[in-house]
Every structure is written in C-alpha cells, then in structure tokens.
Amino acid sequence: MRIVVCVKHVPDLQSDRRFTDEGRVDRDQGDGTLNELDENAVEAAVTLAEQHGGEVVALTMGPADAEDAVRRALQMGADDAVHVVDDALAGSDAFGTALTLAAAVRRIGEAGPVDLVVTGMAALDGLMSVVPTLLAGHLGLAQATLAAEVTLDPAAATVRVRRELDHASEVVEAPLPALVSVTDQANQPRYPNFKAIMAARKKAVTAWTLADLGLDPAEVGDAGARTRVLEATPRPPRENRVLVTDEGDAGLRLAAFLAENRLV
C-alpha cells in the first residue's frame, strides 16, 4: 500500500492574516503552519499504512517555508516527503495547485504504484474545498470526500468513507486507487514524540521544480490562474456596537435591540 498525503503550509489562523496588494494571500509573515485539517489527513494516511502495511509519502507545494508542512508530516510518521518549489508557482489558484499536485503524484507513482491519495477537506486560507475534486479529476481517480471515517479493504481493493452532508449521512465506496479527503471528525491527530521528531530530522525532503515535473510555467501560478482578484479590502470594524452587563433586564434590552433593527 502506497499512500500520498497532500499537505499545505498556511498562515497561522491566530495571526493577522492578510492579502498583498496583488490580491494574493500574504505568505511572507513568517508565522505559517501546517494547515490544521491536513494533520487529520496525515493521521488518516499513517494509520491506514500502520493497519495495512505500506508507506506514506507527504507532498506539498509552495515557497521555501512550505517545507515545514512536510517536516511535520514526517514527524507524524510519513516515510518520505516531496516539496514542489518553483517561483513560477506563486499566485497559483486551485487549478494550478491541482495540476501541480497531480504531476507530482504521477512522478511519485513512477517509483511504485500509488494506491491512495489523502487530503484535508479544505485549506484554512482559501477554504474553497475544491482541490481534492480537481486533483482526482486530473489523476482520473474515483473520489470519496469529506470523510468522517475511513476504512480500507485491501482484499476488495476499495476504500469506504462515512460522511455527514447537509441533508443526509452517506457511506461512499471507491475502487483503489482513489482519492479521499477527510474532515476533522475523522481522527485525533497524534502529537509527535521526541523520538519521532529526531527521526524526522534525519529524513531528506525531495525538492522538485516544475521542470522536474514536466509542467509548463504558463499553466500554473499567476500565468495559469483562472481567476483574478480585482480588489482585496479589510473589513471595517463593526460600528455602533453595544455591550451590556445583565442587571436583570438584559433580555428585555436584547428584545428591544432586535425590534429596533427589524430583526423580530
């Protein structure tokens, strides 16, 4: 069983996240972190490899800092790590990202077939939740997304997920090789111990450029983006805010506030 887990380095949720003048996510704040939901993806990949045997390759794309994301995956038990890094990737949208990740997964597959690709359900910067679907589309894989629970049946060569959608609870089964995305309900990510952290330090991270993947720079980054931000503006603070401490009449004041604002 060979599993590729895709991870992303994102600005820390607790930090002051912002856009650049060009309308890109500002990735130069120096306080980036592994996308929290990708910890669930790594945990799912490592757990499946432990259960069924095999290896996990962590894959990321992004500027130099993004290597931290695959380092974290190595600490959590991934066996190998790949970092696609190229200046031409700057400004990639979901399409450029999926195209690049797909090329990297194919390249990883040259060393031995990939049975499963695992991702988080969304990156906590863009929150589009569409890269898993685009990636599966490029790779021609069946997809089982938004998993709250993942089980693998190597004998039947299938992966099965349970997921909670807006109007229904579903069980979806996909033939291997397949793509799975997981939610934060899927597991409790392990916290790497000292030994795992030390062992991860000794592992090399393979760096690939676009040329290594045979990709045309015009297809990715700003050049290949299918959307363009015209304007990015920080939200002005809310005005006329009211804060009251209950002295026995706060419910009445709340009702009056709602009535005044035509909300009842």
Binding site: A122, L124, T145, Q185, L258
Partner: protein, 331 residues
C-alpha cells in the same frame, strides 16, 4: 435590480430541489441570474413538471432536465452538467450558477475542469462586470477581508452562498418554459458508488445553511439547549452549535458551525454560551447582525458582536423570548 441586456449569453442555474420543490437557495440564484443574462435552469432528476410553472414565474426560459444525474455523485454530476453546458451555451461568455454547498462545490469544480471555466465559490454577491464578465464578492479570513474577483476565462462557474441575496420574483407575466431532456451518458472511468444514504429527519425549523436567523449554543449551555431552542423557535430560526457542543454529543454534528462545519450568513446570529474561537468565527463572522450572550466578559466573540450581553444565557434568553412574544402581542 437591473435586468441584463437582450442577446447576452444564457445563464444556467442549477436548481437544487427536495422532491419536487426547489430549495429557497434556487430562487436566490434565479434572482441574481436575471441580472446577468437570459436564465435557463438545470434540473437533476426526472420529471421537473411539478416545478416548471414556478420556474417560469421566476423568469426561467428553458429547463434542462438531466434524469440520469439524480443518482450520480458530484464528480459525475459535474461531467453531466458539462455536457449540458456544451449542448446549450453558444459561443462567448456564459455563466453557471449553483448554491454553495459542499456537494455543489465538488460538482462545480468538476464542471469547471471539464469545460475550462474559471471557478468562484462561496460568493456573497455577484455583479456584471464592465466587460461582460461576472464579478464575485467573496469573504476571506473569517470575513475579515472582502475580495472582488472575476474569471480570466470566458466561462464562469460560480457557487453563491445561500442567503447572500434576497429572492425577488420578477415583474411581468410568467413564461412557460420549454423542457429539454438530456440523456447524459456518464463518462467511462473509475467512480465511487453510494452504498448508503440516510436523509436527516425533517425538522420544523428551517435548514441551518438557509435560515435567516440562527441561534447557536456553545460550551456555556452545558448541554441544555432548551433556552437556545426556545429563542430559535420564537424567531423562526435554526439551531446551531459549536464544535465543543457537537463533540460532547449535546447535539448532532450536522449542527456544527465553523470552518469545518456549516458556514452561515444569516441576517441575525445569536450565540449563547459561545466563546467565539477562531474556527467558529470563520463559519459565522459574515452574518448580518451578531448578538452574543456569555457570562465571561473576556470571550472573544464580544470583539465582533453588534450587541453583547455579559450574563447568564439561562435567564437572558428566556426573558428575551418572552419579551419578543409580548411585543408581538402573543402573550
């Protein structure tokens, strides 16, 4: 609201429906679509007949029924939709609109991949840009930033958040839409199959993602949602919850609001016993008016509340509910 110039390329609207009834988000999409061009609807499933008159009254010129798509999962729905787009859209710019749910975002992504379109999801508003392209307004970073974006491609696929716009029926006489049925053959290739589907039991309350009012219970409820439910019912709203409340099993996971749960943009959000952790804020900060009731004055939710009450939710909420009934003359 303006109406698009005649001769513009058709705008396709995917009409989500429950049995025969379009969901409320579909009427919102139809309202926006009218400003962008002549409106055609896509109906996944057989027999749109029961809804055709209503769609006609909402300005739909043609209904594209795709019977086979009813049983397809989102990626294959996206492929089916691509076939419809290729079949109907003339040359030049065209737009496909969907309601921004997780399933529809996957459908939209696959459609965009198959047709070379640009994709914008979770849009809070749509405008016709000066060059005929669609401009989407999006909220980012827990609604602390607002983006205006457009596609660089001639074709745009846009998923619009429920509640982002008010649904307004057009003036004028209803049309009688023509119904075209598309026999779409799913493309060959490996696909996932649905093993089991358990619809959620119908509730008297509105759907969380579509509700105009949402009352949310957090850790401070200590598992007692009665005051939250009472106020939600008085306001005709939905009940939501924080991650803590769902993890504790106080309420189902489907009620979770936040970056990994449901994202809501109601006119009115009321958080009771909700601290306002960053993950939760990411799912609700774009709400119109934010009210918070929490006994801890240090709760971060007060930083974003239009009206904050430092107090005990078990006294404040029932008092507010009773007062609202009194104002309405119900008690």
């Amino acid at each position: 609201m303006t109406t698009a110039a005649p001769g513009a390329a058709p705008v396709l609207v995917v009409v989500d429906h429950h049995d025969d009834a379009p969901r409320s988000s579909a009427y919102e999409l139809l309202t926006v679509a009218r400003t962008l061009g002549p409106v055609e609807a896509v109906w996944f499933g057989a027999a749109p007949e029961a809804a055709v008159d209503r769609l006609g009254a909402w300005g739909v010129a043609r209904v594209h029924a795709v019977p086979a798509a009813a049983d397809l999962l989102p990626p294959e729905r996206g492929e089916a939709l691509a076939a419809v787009v290729e079949a109907v859209a003339g040359p030049g710019a065209s737009t496909v609109l969907l309601a921004s749910t997780f399933e529809n975002k996957e459908t939209a992504a696959r459609l965009a991949l198959a047709t070379g379109a640009g994709l914008m999801v979770d849009a809070a508003a749509l405008e016709a840009g000066p060059d005929g392209r669609v401009v989407a307004v999006q909220q980012a970073f827990a609604a602390t930033w607002t983006l205006r974006a457009c596609t660089t491609t001639p074709r745009a696929v846009v998923a619009l958040k429920p509640n982002a716009v008010a649904a307004v029926a057009p003036d004028g006489a209803p049309t009688q839409p023509e119904v075209l049925t598309h026999d779409v053959v799913p493309a060959a290739g490996p696909v996932a199959r649905l093993v089991e589907r358990t619809p959620r039991p119908a509730s008297d309350r509105p759907d969380l993602g579509e509700a105009q009012v949402v009352v949310v219970g957090g850790r401070g409820t200590e598992g007692d949602f009665s005051a939250v439910e009472e106020l939600a019912d008085v306001l005709g709203g939905a009940v939501g919850a924080t991650r803590v409340a769902t993890d504790e099993g106080w309420i189902g996971h489907e009620a979770q609001i936040g970056q990994t749960g449901v994202t809501i943009t109601p006119r009115l959000y009321i958080g009771a016993g909700v601290s306002g952790a960053v993950h939760h804020r990411g799912g609700m900060q774009a709400s119109g008016t934010i009210v918070a009731v929490n006994s801890d004055p240090e709760s971060p939710i007060f930083e974003i509340a239009d009206f904050g009450v430092v107090g005990d939710l078990f006294t404040v909420l029932p008092q507010a509910a009773a007062e609202i009934r009194r104002i309405r003359g119900e008690a």
